[in-house]
């Protein structure tokens, strides 16, 4: 099923992963933003699960569009419009190849993961949802993969079911079959948890859901930067992600939807671009993906996103993942040695995200004191309040790593946490 071998670049990337370790200094040189001091210390940016920084290749792609090709897409006959349209559609092709979708029409450009989920909620699920139906989520979803479904439930009388999370922060898979019932209309699950780092076995979940005839949406917002994604191998119906979390621009993301689904779905928003013909009596709609791209799209965003995905493929997702795995192991060991630190989320399969609490130190204070040391982490509930409740904490501090982070930064984080204890007089 995996057609990766047939794609230019993919095989080379995969073998490269095994041989050459990542040269982090070379990588860092491509990120202008990393060359700065914060509070008199070199910036250690460890908030990558919130958003990633952008490499020169992405900055150049976006400014190049403005400097050479800026025109509206799908509209003009003139040279610039033709170039812009070609670049925009080429970007769609890049996303398709990177996800290994079977055709470019399966890729819809959207604002981000949130908009993609809402699109599926209203266009795909709403028409088929009835009173008493069920939508199955998991206990580790981001609010973006909870609230849209809740809104549907309010309108339709359907209800949410939730696959629970273990103390280690893994999904309780043994409960899955019991929760998949005759009334289940969709399973929506995150590929990688933004708050715990857990990598979920989405292929297995999809297979079990499909055995019961239930379609599956996967929230890939946190997965794209860390793992190779192949939507056909995963066998999912919908896959969504945001550009800004995978080294691309914000305000752009993509929805992958199986062609048969997109083909059958009504439009979500109306406007230009998504029509075939309009009279005041009747409008006929364009075929997917344009049917779902009403209005002038985020052209420079799409082009920047494609540049980011190409850049990451060029570095090698396998190499990036190996480096991040080493950072994660190092950070896990280092944090465990800091008195009072409790790591939340200890799944066997984890991306480089560490959520933790510290005895006697509120996450907010941890965040401020680390910032003083030039270390950027996220503190709060990470838009996953049900999960925070599950672990009995109001909030956590979270360090999340990207391929440009270093082992020296891991050491600084651990030292910074000791400093937190000193400042707070613990």
């Amino acid at each position: 099923m995996n057609a990766a071998g047939g794609q230019p670049g993919m095989t080379a990337v995969a073998t490269g992963a095994m041989t050459l370790p990542l040269d982090v200094e070379t990588i860092r040189a491509e990120f202008p933003v990393l060359r700065q001091e914060v509070n008199g210390q070199p910036l250690a940016y460890l908030d990558n699960a919130a958003t990633t920084q952008k490499p020169r290749a992405v900055i150049d792609a976006v400014s190049g569009f403005y400097e050479r090709d800026c025109a509206n897409v799908h509209r003009g006959v003139h040279a610039l419009s033709a170039r812009a349209t070609a670049a925009y559609e080429a970007a769609r092709g890049t996303v398709q190849r990177r996800l290994n979708a079977s055709r470019p029409e399966e890729i819809v450009f959207v604002r981000g993961a949130t908009e993609a989920i809402n699109l599926v909620a209203w266009s795909f699920l709403r028409p088929r949802l009835q009173d008493g139906d069920e939508i199955l989520l998991t206990g580790m979803e981001h609010h973006a993969n909870i609230v849209p479904w809740q809104l549907l439930c309010q309108q339709s009388g359907a209800r949410l079911r939730v696959l629970p999370v273990t103390d280690a922060g893994e999904l309780r898979l043994e409960a899955l079959d019991g929760l998949l019932g005759d009334r289940t209309r969709l399973v929506a699950v995150t590929h990688v948890s933004n708050a715990l780092g857990t990598i979920n076995p989405v292929a297995e979940i999809a297979a079990r859901a499909h055995a019961r005839g239930v379609p599956v949406l996967v929230d890939g917002a946190q997965a794209l930067p860390h793992v190779a994604v192949d939507v056909q191998a995963l066998g999912v119906d919908f896959y969504v992600f945001s550009g800004h979390k995978v080294y691309g621009p914000s305000g752009i993301g993509a929805l992958y939807g199986k062609h048969e689904h997109l083909q059958a779905m009504p439009p979500w928003q109306g406007g230009g671009e998504m029509i075939q013909s309009v009279t005041f009596d009747r409008t006929t709609f364009a075929a997917p993906p344009l049917r779902f791209e009403a209005g002038t799209p985020n052209m420079e965003g799409a082009i920047g996103l494609a540049a980011a995905l190409e850049w990451l493929a060029c570095v090698g997702i396998g190499r990036a993942a190996a480096h991040e795995r080493a950072l994660l192991d190092h950070a896990t060991r280092a944090l465990r040695e800091v008195p009072g630190v409790r790591i939340i989320g200890t799944a066997a399969e984890k991306a480089a995200i560490i959520s933790f609490t510290m005895e006697g130190a509120h996450p907010h204070d941890i965040g401020t004191i680390l910032d003083h040391e030039g270390i950027a982490v996220r503190t709060g509930h990470h838009c996953a309040q049900p999960l925070m409740r599950r672990f009995g904490v109001p909030a956590t501090a979270r360090a999340s790593f990207a391929l440009y982070n270093t082992h020296a930064e891991v050491e600084r984080l651990a030292e910074g946490l000791r400093q937190v204890r000193r400042v707070l007089g613990r």
Binding site: A361, H362, P363, H364, D365, T368, I369, H372, T379, G380, H381, M388, P394, A395, V423, L424, G425
Partner: protein, 165 residues
């Protein structure tokens, strides 16, 4: 480290370690309000026993960061025995000092040792931590039902004034 000390003054740390009037619902409490900051999860309930226009006793429950906890703790001490009008004036002075770029110079004199909390002004992201207890107390004082939410418009406005840009 130096300006961090302005935020984490020894007095603040001490109140954080040993909050006063904490987990206490005073005898005869007749004014209560719940306040929370949805961004960071801090939440406090303030209880007051007000008799003949005088704050006889105050206590608070809940959990938050060092700044919000110390602010609540110091506030309860400062309110004991004050008239409602004095409590109102203290609230106004604290709000002025915590959120305005150019606070009324007289305000500092009115708050006494609570001034130590104003170190938070150098940390715009933390201003709401210091104001949470005060807004909650204010709501309780006025018998406002329901909850105080730091993300409601008035506060957002203050955040911008406090240097949020």
């Amino acid at each position: 480290m130096s300006d961090l000390r302005a935020l984490y003054e020894e007095v603040i740390l001490e109140h954080n370690r040993k909050p006063r009037n904490y987990m206490k619902r005073p005898e005869g409490a007749n004014r209560s309000a719940y306040g929370f900051n949805p961004i960071c999860g801090d939440e406090f309930t303030i209880h007051m026993a007000v008799e003949d226009g005088v704050v006889k006793d105050v206590g608070f429950e809940g959990a938050g960061c060092a700044i919000s906890t110390a602010s609540a703790s110091m506030m309860t001490q400062a309110l004991m025995g004050r008239t409602e009008a004095e409590a109102e004036a203290l609230f106004e002075a604290m709000r002025d000092l915590l959120t305005h770029d150019h606070p009324d110079p007289a305000a500092a004199g009115r708050v006494g040792k609570l001034q130590v909390l104003t170190g938070v002004r150098e940390f715009p992201m933390r201003v709401k931590c210091a104001t949470l207890a005060w807004h909650t107390m204010h709501a309780a004082l006025h018998g406002v039902d329901g909850t105080v939410n730091t993300e409601e418009p008035e506060e957002r406005h203050q955040c911008a004034i406090g240097g949020g840009h």
